[in-house]
Symmetry: C2
Subunit: 329 residues, 2 copies
């Protein structure tokens, strides 16, 4: 009641309780203190409705209990699910999350890193497509799906294994000839390994395959031309398609249906990600499911524990195949 228009501070609490500043600090931080003192302080805190000013705390202690999370957007179901899981994981550990949607813009990504440093967050988890992202040494950074080098841990799903799994699933369902479709990316990031796994599996099974990989700026219609080119007598050259993401799978399926093809009768399609309708209903297509929860959990573990070089710098988490109606099983 002394200073009307201002939140109570530790000093007010100390005065109210008739104890010293340091004692109040100890009570707040759970450091043992005389029983009677603790009670007086707790009472005063309640009476004044005191709240810690975390800016003062952050300034003094250099801990913010905030992690910055950087993703391209929240529109894509995979990203939003991932962020949702990371948020939950952080909350459980008493951390806050500063969210940064970068819209794939390298400049924005860089500016968020700078912002994160300014904000003095305790760490950054980032899913970036910016190959030359400059990161300061003193902010722990965890990368998802993109390997920057041994000094920055990278968490990813087992992209190579997933690619193989997709090929195997298609063949198991009777496909005789496969196709791999991917949108363009000059980046050598982890998801590119889906192709390698796919190719390797095809060769091991001695199954013919072809690929169509769009160049960076090429429009989606290039895929339609590709499909048209491989149509003969109302049938495709291949009877199984692995699309690099569920999103692409859906676009492709739209085109296939327009061309009069039935899925999965005429051609079977497998995607990658494990997107579900409305986040948790059924799968939107047969797909390779990324272990989003585990990936999120792993990122949070890594960013908080900053385990010194103990962990490998590339962590691949296992994927699984899930039936979603666009294959025979």
């Amino acid at each position: 009641m002394n200073k009307p228009n201002s939140a109570p501070t530790m000093k007010d609490v100390a005065r109210e309780a008739g104890v010293a500043l340091g004692t109040v600090s100890k009570v707040i931080n759970g450091i043992p203190v005389g029983e009677s003192y603790r009670l007086k302080v707790e009472e005063a805190i309640k009476k004044l409705n005191y709240r810690v000013n975390s800016y003062a705390k952050g300034l003094k202690s250099n801990r913010t209990f905030t992690i910055a999370v950087m993703v391209p957007n929240l529109i894509s179901p995979f990203f939003s699910k991932l962020v949702n899981c990371i948020n939950k994981s952080l909350a459980q550990r008493g951390y806050r999350m500063l969210l940064c949607a970068t819209d794939y813009d390298p400049e924005q990504e860089q500016s968020y890193v700078i912002m994160a440093e300014q904000q003095k967050v305790d760490g950054i988890i980032c899913l970036s497509y910016n190959p030359n992202l400059q990161v300061s040494e003193d902010v722990p950074l965890i990368s998802i799906d993109r390997y920057f080098g041994a000094h920055i841990p990278c968490v990813a799903s087992d992209n190579y294994g997933g690619g193989a799994l997709a090929a195997q699933a298609l063949v198991r369902n009777g496909c005789k000839s496969l196709a791999f479709l991917r949108v363009g990316s000059k980046l050598t990031n982890e998801p590119n390994k889906r192709r390698d796994g796919f190719i390797n599996a095809c060769e091991n099974m001695a199954v013919p395959y072809m690929m169509k990989i769009l160049d960076d700026g090429q429009p989606y219609s290039a895929f339609e031309e590709f499909l048209q080119a491989h149509m003969q007598d109302g049938k495709l050259d291949f009877d199984g398609i692995f699309c690099v993401t569920d999103l692409l799978a859906h676009q492709i399926m739209g085109s296939l249906r327009q061309m009069g093809l039935r899925i999965p009768e005429d051609v079977q399609v497998v995607g990658y990600d494990g997107i579900r309708h409305f986040g948790d209903l059924d799968y939107t297509c047969s797909t390779i499911v990324q272990p989003v929860e585990e990936m999120a959990e792993t990122c949070v573990d890594l960013v908080l524990e900053k385990n010194e070089g103990k962990t490998p710098s590339l962590i691949c988490l296992p994927v699984r195949y899930a039936y979603g109606g666009t294959t025979r099983s």
Copy 2:
């Protein structure tokens, strides 16, 4: 280079540039200062790679340039789209976003409000289903879809108009008898008005309707029983259904198809929200589209400008009907 293991401070910059602390502060904050001084300071900043410590800044200035955003989760496409838009809007204005996913838990929601106060964020935008959320006076709060009272601005889509629009769309497409389906909620929040708008429109058009509103804990299967009860000779009593959300619409359509009904031939379905496949492909069903971008923009405007009582406390933004394949047009 003086203090090796620690980030440079304004003091270091001042020493490096040979000027006073206050001068550095002015340069950083764009307050006019002698040309030669400004250059010296800017050079020193670059040389030392100085970054503002926003915790010190926040402590002193009581501004954080951070807004807390509270939603139940990011799994639901509507929420994630909303958060995505809010994030973009905040970033454009130089604000950061602290994200809080509450999982519908009143306790968590409350704890986030407290956290937000501690963090001394500049404001909160919240989509809460907690009827008795306690909010402090000194943190500007904007509510989405839930009206707390005249002191807290509420942003919502035109739920009443949307309900009417849904009924009109179904009738326009030839429906003779309608049904309204909603999951339970004891809360009197804005989306409840969808029902009122629907009823009013039905009565104006003299079209018969029925409703099935689940009680709070009732399982989804209650809807299936309802549908079964209204089946006669392989046909439903009604030929148009308005579901209170797109998510419910999809669940209902699943049930309808299992019962052997064709959509939209046997029964037409309209949802509410305007969810799109993968965030920006086609609509997942015929639906009433919420103006998410505008809602986000409005929230951000309100929370930042804290316009003193000038704005109405309930802001309804216009909705529109969108065809999504589950009606005739």
